[in-house]
Amino acid sequence: MISRQVEAGSVRLTRRMEKRLVRQACRGCQESARRLVDAHKDRLFAFVWRVLRDQHESEEVCQEAFLRAFSALESFSAEYRFSTWLFTIAYRLCLNHIRRRKPCTGEVDFSAICTDQQDASERLAESEEARMLKDKVWEAVDRLSTAQRAAVILFYREGMSCEAIARTLEIPMATAKSHLHRARARLREELSGLVEDWTQVKALREAAS
């Protein structure tokens, strides 16, 4: 079974700490609000960027999501994680952006993605073939529908359960599962011709982990 990676670039808050920060931010504490932004911005941006595939729009959506979350902190239920709530707001904003803009082609130029931020040694260690395979996987992910893509990213990247995905995307759990299963079926369909043998898959997994 896949070991789902949930560790993120930004510091993850404990539930207790998160509740305290939310409480203080609710009272108008700027420092707590800043810590909440710092703790969630990278994960949120990664999710939004994968859904929208546009840096400018993604930044805009993230900023709007934080502001909306802060302005409605009083209505936040401590029963859920702040991140779930934040992702829900961001996903809604993403859908609004997608509806507003022209239909996109689905083509993504991965060479333009900040490869300069990657560690040089890491880049050397990674084989050209594995990098190409990873790009193909992302291209296939990008061709999924918005809801399927969001479900896949929340499941694998955020380590969310189907129940949490359903809550975040505001859909029934059966629908969330269906999105995830259909996404897998499409990925398998699109990538099965690409990966010829077992060794390539192994190389891909090693490069990814």
Binding site: I2, R34, D42, E59, Q117, C162, V201, S209
Partner: protein
């Protein structure tokens, strides 16, 4: 041993972490024998690994946090209300309240005054009758006092009650509007004439001057407010509405 079709059906439950241990064992056993299924599952696992671990997205800098915090501070700052906004916010409800008070003041005298016990009893009769007829309450569910009140009330349809209650109110409101319009027209007529102009015309036995015409001749010794009194007949609230004479001022008033 499960078939490839069964194995494929189990993939999703396995990847979701919802497969029981016995079925997991079956799936592993099948994978050992079937390279195609093994490759398919490995591919899906590899996709998951790429999505989870490949972090080549652009990152947000410190400037983003600053930007959000700045926008947040702006959001927290209390909004200064302009007078226009205050008028819109409070003027409309105030105007509505004033209209209601005015309507009630003007309409109230039309209702026949019924005070004390008589008034209460009458109210009870109407309420009971309306409830029984409108909501179709069985008479046996009423209290003895209500049944008594119902017996005193003449039978009438629900629509009849509404007509009787609302009809006079609407009529009185229309009457008030007409009176206000007539008053406005007379005031406008006064303004058009100007102080003192009508007195001279009246003294000469001629009709009042038209708008725009200069008023000549000497002035009377009466103070200006008395001169105006001479010009304007006392308002007769019971008189039928006067059709407005067409003029530019009328057209302007219409557009308001």
């Amino acid at each position: 041993m499960i078939t490839c079709r069964h194995a494929h059906q189990l993939f999703d439950r396995y990847l979701d972490g919802e497969l029981s241990s016995s079925l997991q064992a079956e799936l592993h056993a099948h994978q050992l024998a079937c390279s195609s299924c093994r490759s398919d599952l490995a591919l899906l696992e590899a996709c998951g690994d790429v999505v989870a671990g490949d972090r080549r997205e652009p990152v947000l800098g410190e400037a983003f946090t600053e930007r959000v915090m700045q926008a947040y501070r702006m959001q927290q700052r209390p909004v200064r209300r302009s007078w226009g906004r205050v008028l819109v916010l409070f003027g409309s409800p105030a105007a509505a309240a004033a209209s209601i008070v005015l309507a009630v003041t003007m309409i109230a005298p039309t209702a026949p005054p019924r005070t004390g016990r008589e008034g209460i009893t009458a109210g009870r009769e109407v309420a009971v009758s309306a409830a029984v007829q409108g909501m179709q309450i069985p008479t046996r569910q009423l209290t003895a006092r209500d049944r008594e009140a119902l017996a005193r009330t003449p039978k009438m349809e629900a629509a009849g009650i509404v007509e009787k209650l609302v009809g006079p109110l609407v009529e009185q409101t229309w009457k008030s509007i007409e009176q206000t319009r007539r008053g406005a027209r007379q005031l406008e007529y006064l303004v058009r004439l100007g102080p003192g102009a009508g007195t001279e015309r009246l003294a000469a036995g001629s009709p009042p001057a038209e708008a725009g015409q200069p008023a000549g001749g000497g002035r009377s010794d009466l103070p200006w407010y008395q001169e105006w009194n001479l010009l304007v007949p006392p308002l007769d609230f019971d008189a039928p509405p006067v059709p407005p004479a067409h003029s530019d001022v009328d057209a302007e008033l219409e557009t308001l």
